[in-house]
């Protein structure tokens, strides 16, 4: 296992989760479905690795979670963005866009 790759993945996964939750509170399976839907299947994350990411974000106070009833009337854990999570999403998006733009510039130049 090479750590840097994991870290890069982890970083982008966090961003995706935060972005997804900025729309509405959602349970884990729903988040994974939403990411797949929005990305039209290009971003296929290993579904299991979503949960450590959720736990990590919750521990850093960016999201909170609570039990609720799902659309098919089953108990599910719903995650929602906190105020600081929303702030963090803004900052992350900014830096991601800067990074992506920078990368784009470099790629276009060569």
């Amino acid at each position: 296992m090479s750590r840097p790759a994991t870290d890069a993945l982890r970083g982008s996964l966090d961003l995706l989760v935060l972005k997804t939750l900025s729309l509405e509170p959602m349970h884990g399976w729903g988040i994974s479905q939403r990411i797949q839907q929005i990305s039209k299947g290009t971003l296929e994350v290993n579904q299991g690795s979503l949960y450590p990411a959720l736990q990590r974000l919750e521990k850093s106070g960016l999201i909170t979670s609570d039990w609720d009833t799902s659309d098919n009337n089953r108990r599910a854990r719903y995650y929602k963005l906190t105020a600081s999570g929303r702030r963090a999403l803004g900052e992350e998006l900014d830096s991601w866009r800067k990074f992506a733009a920078g990368l784009e510039t470099v790629l276009r130049a060569t």
Partner: protein
């Protein structure tokens, strides 16, 4: 407030562990079910297939769960409680290892904790009252001239006036006196004469009446005393109207003016206080009675500054009076520490104390290493478990942690047992100390398991867990998972043990055997301890030490006990005492000696070559250093009083002590051990004195006088089982020449114990300054001694058994482990056609070889150890026990080898080959 949200989430994850686990399970179940439903809906496959695909998409449920657990933070905590449960289960599952480990480590912990507690008690002593740490002692240490404490009284006047930053100066000295109450009860007592400031330093208020005041110290003031709670309760039966009543100390009558509360025992461990009425002006410099000085540091000063002032004064006084104060040193020290003379300020000493404390744990480290070997052998059988857990995603740290927790359970159990043992030993030691020297042990010194010691024990438990758990686990988790898992199928253990471990077996056997002399001595003697054979009627004898107190003389004014005038007075009072006792109908006889039977002092004695001596004798005599023997001084009539009849020659006669002082009587063991049973009467011996006692005239002999042996008596009082017979030499003595002198009363009727208080009364009636100490029926003295040696032997035996047990288990584990490792090799050999006999012989030959080498080395080491400790391991039971233990070790080793061999022989050749 992200940190609050985060913290709440963290806390919930950390402490609501059960909830976190069930939440995780439920979330993942929900996820997989929803995904499966989706797949059924979208792809129309069967539910079972959909579930399989959902699980694949999720990607390793257990792996993710492990990741979640690890990320929860403090996973070690959850792991720990689980591991502790596992550890407890391990204790039950491997009872052999549990027993051996607990017994071995408990002994290690007990020794460590006892040693630590003793060092801690001595080193970190504090006076148990407010600002007790500011109390100091100011001392003069003697140089070539006079004893330092005799300078104190004169110096005190100058210290009082010149020392800055010091207050509440005071001095004290102790006097040994008979405490005689109005109803005539007599108790020997150590009284302290102390300045009134001593009460102020402690700041204690009297329970009844008042304490001493400076006015009481005035010459001509009526004699008064203050008594302590214990004396008030025991001697005066808690009389609430005690103030104003009188008591006698020796020949002086005192009025009781107060009672101090429980716990007050300043300055040492005292219970009766009288005013100190000493005036330096009455004595020539250096001739004053010995006193000790205490004082209190005023706020804002420190000991160092005061010490510098005291030293300066000492130097100035020494310059003015060089004859007396040559090399004398003046100093100020912490009062609490002044009784042990440990220079704590010296960094080297501090380092030394730390090292000593660490050495105390050395035994546990040795024991722990042994247990670690056992655990390592067990770890080998669990390498499959380790491999599987690693494959499932457990980190190395996690696995090592599990082994640590398991070891922690074991070592905590051992620590608990060790704690109980140490507590018992310390209490026992304290009782012994109290009995031996109660009033000399400072009241603030109590041997007990202090907080420090308990922390030390806890530290020892963790240390033991690290040795026993972490080290084997580190070693076991070194190799690659794949190797472990591969070997799992073959049944072999992947842990590699090479020559090192073969050497370890040899070393273990050698160490065990070399400990034999001590083990044999301890176990053998303990088994054999029994009632000694008596050659004198011990149940009829009462012994006591008789003193004569001098008016005005303190405990330490030794020179007042010398001189012809004192001796003459002592002799005439002794004669009065004998007369008074002979009038008692229950007394059969009275006699004097310089020590009770069995407590004679050691002295070197040379033996002549004349009188038909053999070659060996002359070699001994030529060696002018002589041989150590027990030397007793007895009065003429002593042996007759004890009912002893000479085996040959005669007993001492009335004139021997005066006109013919150079005669001697020896015991039966002397004749056997020193003369090889040749006739003793007429032979000459030369007592050489005790080098270390040259300044003590009681023991000093110039070593030029030849004494003629005039008689032989049986061994007195006894030869204890397990103790070697000792050569004893008796010389005639005049009773006034021993101080204190041992008086022995032989009863005609009634028990010696019943006569104790009567003897005190008669003695005090002859003269109140005649004081008896250590009054005890001889039987009890001997019992106490026997009890003490029994306790010591028990301790040695327990340690020896623990070591033996541990070694046997270690040998078993090592042996069975190495043979298990050769399992495949043996299987292949069997497959290739080797007969069972050949295989077994091959393995056992190697095992026997290792054991034999170990035993040989061990015996070689045992000889010098036995010699140094002068234990005779080939005498008596040693001759049975030693081979028995060697046999035991051999059997243990062979049994350990036999089990695996038997299992190996059952392997089918195909199995062995498949392993390759």
């Amino acid at each position: 407030m992200s940190w609050i949200d985060g913290a709440r989430a963290r806390l919930a994850l950390l402490f609501r562990r059960g909830a976190a686990e069930s939440r995780m399970h439920e979330e993942i179940r929900f996820h997989v079910e929803r995904e499966a439903e989706r797949i059924v809906r979208e792809n129309g496959v069967a539910p079972a297939e959909a579930r399989r695909r959902a699980l694949v998409a999720f990607g390793g449920v257990e792996k993710h769960k492990e990741e979640l657990r690890a990320a929860r933070g403090g996973s070690w905590l959850a792991g720990l409680s689980l591991d502790l449960k596992l550890g407890l289960r391990m204790l039950v599952k491997y009872p052999g290892l549990t027993i051996v480990g607990i017994v071995g480590m408990a002994v290690g912990v007990a020794i460590g904790a006892t040693g630590f507690a003793i060092i801690d008690t001595v080193v970190s002593t504090k006076l148990p009252f407010a600002s007790g740490d500011r109390v100091i002692g100011i001392q003069n240490l003697g140089g070539g001239g006079v004893e330092g404490r005799r300078l104190n009284l004169h110096d005190l006047a100058e210290w009082r006036t010149t020392l800055r930053g010091v207050e509440l100066f005071g001095a004290y000295r102790t006097l040994d006196r008979n405490l005689i109450t109005a109803n005539g009860a007599v108790t020997p007592f150590r009284v302290v004469e102390m300045n009134a400031s001593g009460f102020q330093i402690v700041g204690a208020q009297p329970m009844l009446g008042r304490y001493l005041l400076p006015d009481d110290e005035r010459f001509g003031a009526p004699p008064v005393v203050v008594i302590g709670h214990k004396v008030w309760a025991r001697t005066f039966f808690s009389d609430s109207a005690i103030v104003g009543k009188t008591l006698k100390l020796g020949d002086t009558q005192y009025t009781i003016v107060g009672v101090m509360p429980r716990g007050f025992a300043f300055p040492i461990n005292n219970g009766v206080w009288a005013p100190l009425k000493l005036n330096a002006a009455d004595y020539a410099p250096g001739r004053a009675p010995a006193v000790d000085v205490f004082a209190k540091l005023a706020p804002g000063t420190n000991l160092k500054a005061v010490n510098a002032q005291v030293q300066a004064i000492g130097k100035r006084r020494a310059a003015a009076n060089p004859a007396e104060r040559e090399n004398a040193v003046s100093r100020a020290v912490s009062y609490a520490n002044s009784f042990f003379e440990i220079p704590l300020a010296n960094p080297k000493v501090r380092v030394g104390i730390s090292i000593a404390k660490m050495l105390m744990s050395l035994i546990l480290i040795v024991v722990g290493t042994n247990v670690a070997i056992l655990v390592y052998a067990r770890t080998a059988s669990r390498s499959g478990e380790i491999g599987i857990r690693t494959a499932l995603g457990a980190s190395r740290l996690r696995i090592v942690g599990q082994f640590f927790a398991e070891a922690l359970v074991l070592s905590c159990a051992a620590a608990a047992v060790g704690f109980v043992i140490a507590n018992f030993v310390l209490r026992y030691l304290m009782t012994l100390l109290d009995r031996a020297a109660g009033e000399q042990i400072p009241f603030w010194i109590t041997l007990h398991l202090s907080t420090n010691t308990v922390l030390y024990i806890a530290g020892l438990a963790v240390l033991a867990s690290v040795i026993v758990g972490v080290l084997p686990a580190m070693k076991a988790t070194q190799q690659q998972i794949t190797t472990t898992l591969q070997q799992l199928g073959t049944g072999g253990s992947g842990l590699r043990l090479g020559k090192v471990w073969n050497a370890l077996i040899v070393a273990q056997v050698a160490a065990t055997v070399s400990l034999m002399p001590i083990a044999v001595y301890g176990i053998g003697s303990w088994i054999l301890m029994r009632a000694p054979t008596q050659t004198i009627p011990v149940n009829e004898l009462l012994t006591a030490a008789l003193y004569l107190d001098r008016p005005g003389a303190g405990t330490d004014d030794f020179d007042s006990y010398a001189g012809d005038e004192f001796k003459a007075r002592f002799a005439s009072l002794q004669a009065d005492l004998v007369r008074a006792l002979r009038e008692e109908p229950s007394v059969a006889n009275v006699t004097f000696a310089n020590s009770p039977p069995g407590s004679e002092a050691q002295e070197r004695v040379a033996i002549d070559t004349i009188g038909g001596g053999t070659q060996t004798d002359s070699t001994r005599a030529a060696n002018s250093r002589g041989r150590w023997m027990l030397m007793g001084g007895v009065t003429p009539g002593h042996f007759e009083a004890l009912g002893v009849k000479p085996l040959s020659g005669r007993l001492f006669e009335a004139g021997d002590a005066i006109e013919r002082p150079y005669v001697a009587i020896v015991n039966r063991s002397f004749v056997r051990l020193e003369l090889g049973d040749s006739p003793a009467v007429g032979r000459l011996i030369r007592p050489l004195g005790r080098n270390e006692d040259r300044e003590d005239p009681r023991f000093y002999r110039d070593g030029t006088r030849w004494y003629e042996i005039v008689g032989v008596v049986p061994d007195i009082p006894y030869v204890a089982a397990g103790e070697d017979a000792r050569s004893r030499v008796y010389v005639p003595m005049r009773p006034e020449n021993a101080f204190p002198v041992t008086v022995m009363v032989r009863m005609r009727s009634g028990t010696p114990a019943a006569f104790v208080s009567r003897l005190r009364e008669i003695t005090a009636k002859v003269n109140p300054m005649l004081r008896l100490r250590a009054i005890e029926p001889l039987e009890q003295t001997l019992d106490t001694e026997a009890e003490l040696s029994r306790a010591l032997l028990l301790a040695v035996a327990v340690i020896a058994v623990a070591v033996l047990l541990l070694s046997a288990a270690g040998i078993y584990a090592l042996m069975s482990f190495t043979v298990t490792r050769r399992r495949r090799e043996i299987g292949i050999r069997a497959a290739l056609g080797a007969g069972a006999g050949v295989v077994v012989r091959g393995v056992l030959a190697r095992a026997t070889g290792q054991i034999a080498i170990g035993v040989a080395i061990g015996l070689l080491l045992a000889m010098p150890i036995g010699k140094v400790m002068s234990l005779h391991m080939f005498r008596g039971w040693g001759i049975v026990i030693l081979p028995a233990v060697v046999l035991l070790i051999t059997i243990v080793g062979l049994l350990a080898a036999a089990g695996p061999v038997r299992r190996v022989l059952q392997i089918q050749p195909t199995e062995a080959l498949r392993a390759e």
